[in-house]
Symmetry: C2
Subunit: 553 residues, 2 copies
């Protein structure tokens, strides 16, 4: 069987100018990066074009079985394009850490991929590297301030700005720096986050232009002084330099799908510690250029979906016209308690039980007042009976469900889904946000926990309670909430799969992200720096002298 | 007065396709990165074109006064081009750390610059970021091996592979990693080098193609096992993945000077811990494409010059046709003991004394049997008497000296220098390497110390003596030597400026770089991670919403 990279490398790649033309970009609205990638920047004229329809792809809680959300996103877009709709894909950029670790690439799969697959999965147009570089430059500048007489009276025990690398490197989670004597800095505890968890990543993907980005960067709180007052990048005077380092990274990237549908791939904030969707600029640009834009939110609808609908929508100024919830028979069987190794065996009982997970997601997505459809991402071993069970289950929620075979057929395998989605986008919408901007932090969290997770109470740790008091003093208490929760469960316990009930959500700590403009609520133990598995993907990756790559999946 | 960035941003930038055509590249030998940058890869046909003349620009020992070696390199190339010679520049890429610190950019100055200046000084085409990323991916994989049962029996106390970032960050020189308990790695001491000091940087710039690079990466020794035996990347199985991450970084970058002379800018190994010149591939490509190639070696001729002539030349397969030694009246006065703040006042006595530094460099460069010329990089305050003294001094060595005013005049200010250089390249050459490949390490070092530095003896620390014994066992004892010495003095003491005599060189330690294929001999305290000054350049850098940058110099 052909691997993803085999298919991608054998693809008929169109020159990027052809894709740019097809997308409706004028020749000075894009700059090439190689022959098959470009960065775009829309003119005012283009920005005045009316917005297309927005289709948000989300999913049930992810399982080790894999749901194929990106694959469905790309396949659906190719199907829409094949039906002569002017379509664009708007996706996140993959993080290199997981590519070298367990997860592999994040550019779709099989015959529903964005290309050049290897480039997008590695360095692409350098956006993540620019962010890593800007992040660590700021960290070096902050530690230099500590070292050079500490004019801002920074308390080395109360620093918030860590360092960042786009690797999976558990050994960098907790470090001590500044060792080696008086010429090598001030010793203190520190740590590294993966670049996608950097506040700069959140900022880049939320900014509407360079000026907005600079204002946001200025607001970043790097730590507290000995009087426990926040010290910002603006105080330190580095906002200009850090913004300058991101002058190109802020521009969305244009590539194509295997079927030559234009795709904007830009930014990759964690759906955990940040908003988990591609940039406002990319989504907005796609909406100006195309009649149908298919985009994706990270993890399940409880994480990426909720954040898109409550946090991104107001900034984007556009409500999705349809929400697609991706589910697979295999993943639902896992939610019903089946073991990963038995997923190819029909198991009606496990499926029946697992469907409750889908039900929760349908219920919570429907509450936003936007049409919802289910995409059943078909696998070879799925039986007709199993597939029909999912359809029938969705029908109970008045939600149409379509079987899509996008991995092996590309857009051809999503024709029904595409037709169904187009129908859904024409339905009436009545967008209902989950909370009001003025609600207290705790009220916002309660809305999320009750209406999205299906949980009982919100339990704040002593630290979290104290933090909210302090934040009130600083005027941070009404910022939007970004929940950092395990993606595997609707609860904060990754083992509670399916549709857990009667659970509480425990908020361990808040992390203020003043630049991004939200408060992260940490539940359970959310890792912001992943580790590598025993057999990392890197062991299988190789390249020959002609540049042909194997093992990158 | 206009700053470098003002001049660069006001420049008439030609589209990169025009520069590529002018350089003689066919349309499939280059790929655009934006409208004004490209990556190149020559066809076999082009690689068979005969090599042009090679002009190596080096200098006296650098001083805080600045010598303007890159500026002279660019100005000389523009002057040659204006005289209708087919010319290319071959330079290193600047490191971002110093750009944000004290040094500022490294793309020439005034009217002798390569452009786009801001891009080249920041992320350029992502080469350094790819290296940083590959370096830290390898580090994460190595620490993961330690964590996942340590199948290679690695001794965490004897690790050689550190981490790397392209920042000036003294707080990362000495760190402890793997803290935070049993799920967050194995605790050990570690440190970060600046990316230009990474062995991968040396490897990238020494490799003749992807296959050669993979072989070199395989040979990297990441550390020792508990039996004190070296463990390599090949043992661990990661050479393919790391090479894949560098598949584009290995391709030279094409840009232009302000006068539209094609410039290949590629790689930036430290002239200290590595060879200190741009890549073999870039220099070789330029030699295939142009009749005159002007390239530069890092720091003074004792560091970059010696390494070019003894280490790079055999790999390049080409001896320079002329060596240009850059000197300034100001720097020579500093070598004569004058204080930096008085350099604008004529001071014949200090100049007379300082000329001895130039004399040493002329003597040692002449010994290679290659024609030598002096370029006096003129500053406004230099008097005719002072400039003539330098000329007369060079004449004693039978070396012609030319005054060049490249900062304010560009190529127009280097017409005489260019004519002189062309004459010199036509002279007979009789290249004499400093040592033979089969010489013992100590013999090689003695040649460098006696004939280049003008020192007396080589003193090895006990550790260094022991290391040489061990290295003999491993067959590493006859590798080429890369001296890591202060750039400010011919000795290993940065305070001994001018022309010190009767000094010994103390080798503290060797660092084996098996992938790059050399032994680094560390003298004095050579820092592989710089720090930031009290007033870092980052404080003055800013950007407006239209992308106009200030303060980047």
């Amino acid at each position: 069987m052909k691997t993803d990279i085999d298919i991608a490398q054998a693809a008929d790649v169109w020159p990027i100018e052809k894709i740019a033309q097809q997308a409706g970009l004028t020749s000075d609205e894009w700059e090439p990066y190689g022959r098959d990638k470009a960065k775009i920047q829309l003119h005012e004229r283009t920005k005045q074009q009316k917005l297309g329809k927005l289709i948000l792809v989300t999913s049930i809680n992810p399982t080790p079985a894999g749901e194929g959300k990106s694959t469905v996103t790309v396949g659906l877009a190719d199907a829409l394009a094949s039906q002569k709709h002017k379509t664009m894909v708007a996706l996140r950029e993959p993080s290199l850490g997981p590519v070298m670790g367990l997860k592999g690439g994040a550019t779709g799969g099989g015959y529903s991929q964005v290309i050049p697959m290897a480039d997008i999965n590695m360095h692409f147009t350098g956006d993540f590297h620019a962010l890593t570089s800007a992040h660590n430059t700021l960290a070096a500048l902050v530690d230099n301030s500590l070292y050079q007489g500490n004019p801002f009276n920074l308390d080395p025990r109360r620093m918030l700005w860590k360092r960042a690398l786009d690797v999976n490197d558990r050994a960098l989670r907790h470090v001590t720096i500044g060792l080696g004597g008086p010429t090598s800095g001030v010793p203190r505890e520190d740590g590294f986050d993966i670049t996608v968890a950097s506040e700069l990543m959140a900022i880049l993907t939320l900014s509407k232009d360079l000026a907005d980005m600079k204002v946001r960067i200025s607001r970043i709180v790097v730590g507290y002084n000995y009087n426990k007052e926040p010290v910002t990048v603006s105080d330190l005077g580095f906002a200009g330099a850090i913004t300058t380092l991101l002058k190109d990274a802020i521009k969305p990237n244009l590539v194509q799908t295997l079927a030559h549908t234009p795709a904007l791939i830009h930014g990759g904030p964690f759906a955990n510690i940040a908003q988990g969707t591609n940039s406002i600029l990319a989504t907005k640009s796609a909406l100006h250029l195309a009649d149908y834009v298919v985009t994706e939110a990270g993890f399940g609808s409880d994480l990426g979906g909720e954040k898109f609908l409550d946090f991104k929508v107001p900034l984007l100024g556009k409500v999705p016209d349809t929400i697609v919830v991706v589910a697979t028979v295999r993943a639902l069987k896992m939610h019903g308690g089946e073991d990963k190794k038995n997923l190819s065996t029909p198991n009606i009982e496990a499926l029946q039980k697992g469907l409750a997970n889908l039900g929760r997601h349908l219920k919570s997505m429907k509450r936003y007042g936007v049409p919802v459809v289910v995409a059943i991402n078909q696998f070879t071993a799925d039986t007709i009976e199993e597939l029909n069970m999912v359809k029938a289950y969705a029908a109970k929620f008045d939600v149409p469900a379509y079987i899509a075979d996008v991995w092996s057929q590309g857009g051809d395998g999503a024709q029904e889904l595409a037709t169904g989605v187009v129908l859904a986008t024409d339905k009436a919408k009545n967008y209902q946000p989950l909370y009001q901007p003025d609600d207290e932090a705790l009220v916002k969290i309660e809305h999320i926990v009750h209406e999205i997770y299906g949980g009982q109470s919100v339990v704040l740790s002593d630290k979290a309670v104290k933090q909210l008091q302090t934040f009130k003093k600083y005027g941070w208490d009404k910022l939007p909430i970004i929940m950092a929760k395990t993606q595997y469960s609707l609860s904060d316990n990754p083992n509670k799969i399916g549709a857990p009930e009667n659970f509480d959500i425990h908020i361990r700590e808040f992390i203020p992200k003043l630049g991004a403009g939200f408060l992260v609520a940490l539940t359970g133990s959310v890792l912001t720096m992943p580790g590598l598995p025993k057999h990392p993907a890197a062991l299988d990756i190789d390249i020959d002298n002609e540049g042909h790559i194997i093992g990158l999946n």
